[in-house]
Symmetry: C2
Subunit: 125 residues, 2 copies
């Protein structure tokens, strides 16, 4: 699904593990299959193919095959895919600005939960 989408809940692959990163990798231009594997450290060819196929299906990327040997395939963001860069930038800005706060809150919460002297509202006394 697409994060923040309240009223519809279609199976749009944006909240999955890789789509967002792939979009950013393609931001500056077309990339080959093996080029994408580098920044997406650890992704298996199977999963990369699955994700790219889904993005192609949704009109977010184009897949261009060059009749060469060895074979070369390039993936590129479509205009529609490029429209996703804006909301994704907003999300990245949020992360840069507020992720430390969130992590602090999380740590404070853990301390509260494990501190027997100052338990705020322990649900497991």
């Amino acid at each position: 699904m697409f994060v923040g989408c309240t009223h519809v809940a279609p199976p749009i692959r944006i909240g999955d593990k890789w789509t967002g990163k792939i979009i950013r990798c393609l931001e500056t231009g077309p990339r080959r299959f093996s080029e994408l594997q580098i920044p997406l450290a650890g992704i298996t060819p199977k999963v990369l193919t699955e994700t790219l196929r889904a993005m192609e299906r949704d009109g977010l990327v184009t897949r261009t095959v060059y009749a060469e040997i060895p074979p070369r395939v390039e993936y590129e963001l479509t205009p529609l895919g490029r429209t996703l860069l804006k909301p994704m930038a907003a999300c990245c800005e949020w992360t840069e600005a507020h992720l430390p706060n969130l992590l602090d809150a999380r740590e404070a919460y853990e301390h509260r939960a494990s501190d027997p002297l100052q338990p705020a509202q322990p649900h497991k006394p």
Copy 2:
């Protein structure tokens, strides 16, 4: 994870199924547990509790218990939680503007795949 976050991959519950919707439900003010169940059609109490606990842990919502009978519990966005409204709005705008395009692309792709006369690049002839 938080969608669009390339460089970090922390377990932030925003790309999950319900967190985004809950944030929007709390946008206009505090809501009770049972009030949240209405717009989040079909969510089970177990999952709603899990999601709210995770959000509380991350400092996105506060949980206030009123010593009444019957019991009343209200959830409200924290200032940190409210900072998420901006990127989420950007995401919602994208969906309103471009989701139809994506759905059209998907339908066109399916037709190409199933049409034996005009196969663009069938991977399964």
